[in-house]
Amino acid sequence: MFLLRGLFLALALALCPAPVANAQSFGRPATAAEIALWDIDVRPDGKGLPAGSGSVARGKEVFAGNCAACHGTQGQGGLQDRLVGGVGSLATPAPVKTVGSFWPYATTLFDYIHRAMPYWAPGSLGVDDTYAVSAYILHLNGILPSDAVLDQHSLPQVKMPNREGFFVDKEFRRFVNAGR
């Protein structure tokens, strides 16, 4: 009995050099199906974009019904952020940061609308309408033509005007570059 206990102790010491928390397991395994329900983030390379599509024309309708009240009928801003224009202003004393002038990735636009907008009912736009309203906002900024349709393949290909407008703080430069 004593021998057995000693053996267990030796095993525990040998196998668990890590912190105490590792000696126990907490929580339960996550299933793939439930992860899919919450796994909403979209990276610049398009990883995470769901299947679906939306046109500029449809996006104009979605925008009028869900976005215009706060962002203005043409995205010119109102109660909330301006979404259009400002190109060429970033180095002036009065910079105007919009999707068109500042945002580096079109994928981030989809991600943000999908997770956070509209403000009073986040997540209420379907995937297709999220593609559509993303396309419309990019069209308002002159980045997409009026007949454009976005989906998981075309969205990551959109080159934003300010894509090269960012640099990483020196402390985390190697961390950002390591994964590239």
């Binding site: 907490f26 339960r28 919450w38 983030d41 180095a91 004393p93 402390e171 390591a178």
Partner: protein, 425 residues
């Protein structure tokens, strides 16, 4: 006066000269100013009200009816005095607080889609991505795990943004620096959680996502420092988190911009690169003079501010025990210096214990105000040797469009009437 005079001799001289007039003057600018009924001060002991039976003992103690302490809900810089529904943050009354710990109901608040009150029984934390064992944890699971506590400051990266371009003389230290607070937080070590789920060796970034309406999400670089010091917290100052601060769970990343300490935490996803959310691209990035934006400037740099006397106060000539706070995301505060002549000469302030890494540190210094116009300011240095820059240096490096991470020395001007106002330098 030498540049590093400790000020002790002037203090004694000041105390000796102290009279009733200067005492009242000091009180008007100090903590006692928060006592609403103290205007009719007792002139002799005969005027002090008699003792009487007190109120019944209650289940929860409230503040004195004579004490007025409140945060100020505000919107972005330049939009003050907004309706509560339009506020995006609520600022701590630094001028009314002493010591280093912020009372729980006065910790500053910043939210991106209001304040949800989440049912802890239904709340879950999902940890997945580049991990061998994707896991779902209940709040009860986290509370059953080995825990630790840490006293640390949190600061919104927008703190101080009022002074980038111009100095509004009507601002108080609460308006300008109130997005800074210090608490004791309790939770589970982040490293233990990530070890438990089997984080892969190349998972160098972690997306932290909130369960608020905006699904606020930030990419956290998993440096050894961040892995060793961060926690998934469930308590503040000994009690469960309050809804405004992330109930039932939040992330805490000591020393880094407050936005990374994601509230209402419900998902941690491990990855090999940053996820580039709206907040780390379009929002919390610093515009430079050439129009490019600095990204992932995450650490809160060395900083300090005098809280008494400070903006919109009124002081009388004579002795003042100047008080303020210093903090640095790099570690402990090593020293704080005080200048009463706009930064020409400096002397060392006293640091009051406790002096903890990445926590607010209280400093005090004696000052005898002779009634002539003065400019008072503080300058902090941390244990890594970082020195709080003067405004000219900071703006020379970053320009005036950065919005975030303003940590220049804060100057308060005192005019002949004793009015204390915000100035650029």
């Amino acid at each position: 006066m030498g540049k590093t005079d400790t000020g002790d001799s002037t203090r004694m001289a000041g105390l000796a000269k102290r009279n009733r007039r200067t005492f009242i003057g000091e009180a008007a600018g100090g903590v006692i100013a928060t006592l609403a009924a103290s205007k009719a001060a007792a002139e002799t002991l005969a005027d002090v009200p008699p003792r009487m039976m007190g109120a019944p003992v209650s289940g929860r103690s409230e503040r004195s009816s004579f004490a007025e302490l409140s945060r100020i809900p505000e919107s972005t810089a330049g939009k003050r005095n907004v309706a509560a529904a339009d506020a995006i943050n609520s600022k701590t009354p630094l001028q009314s607080l002493v010591g280093t710990i912020t009372p729980s109901d006065l910790h500053y608040e910043r939210s991106h889609a209001g304040v949800p009150d989440l049912d802890p029984a239904k709340h879950r934390l999902l940890i997945h991505g580049m991990a061998a064992r994707p896991t779902v944890l209940r709040v009860a699971d986290l509370r059953a795990m080995p825990s630790f506590s840490r006293i640390m400051f949190l600061e919104c990266s927008g703190n101080g943004w009022e002074n980038w371009k111009a100095a509004d003389p009507s601002l108080t230290v609460q308006n300008m620096y109130g997005m800074l607070s210090t608490h004791e937080w309790t939770g589970v070590p982040l490293r233990a959680l990530l070890d438990m789920v089997g984080r892969t060796a190349d998972a160098r970034w972690m997306l932290a996502e909130g369960g608020d309406g905006s699904g606020m999400a930030r990419s956290i670089p998993l440096t050894d420092e961040i892995l060793d010091e961060s926690m998934v917290a469930y308590a503040q100052n000994g009690e469960s988190l309050r809804p405004a601060h992330g109930f039932p769970l939040r992330l805490l990343v000591p020393g880094f911009e407050g936005n990374m300490s994601v509230k209402w935490l419900r998902r941690l996803k491990l990855g090999d690169q940053p996820f580039m959310t709206r907040w780390e691209t379009a929002r919390y990035t610093g515009l430079m003079p050439d129009g490019r934006a600095r990204q992932f400037h995450l650490r809160q740099d060395v900083n300090s501010v005098i809280t008494n006397p400070s903006g919109m106060m009124h002081i009388e000539p004579g002795y003042h025990r100047v008080s303020g706070i210093a903090w640095s995301g790099h570690g402990k505060i090593e020293k704080v210096e005080f200048s009463a002549d706009g930064g020409l000469t400096w002397r060392r302030a006293q640091l009051n214990a406790p002096v903890l890494a990445k926590a607010q540190t209280r400093f005090e210094v004696d000052w005898e105000w002779d009634g002539s116009p003065a400019k008072i300011l503080s300058r902090s240095t941390d244990e890594k040797g970082n020195i709080q820059p003067d405004r000219k240096t900071l703006v020379g490096e970053l320009g005036t469009n950065a919005v975030f991470h303003y940590n220049a020395q804060q100057t308060w001007a005192v005019d002949r009437q004793g009015r204390v106002t915000n100035v650029l330098a």
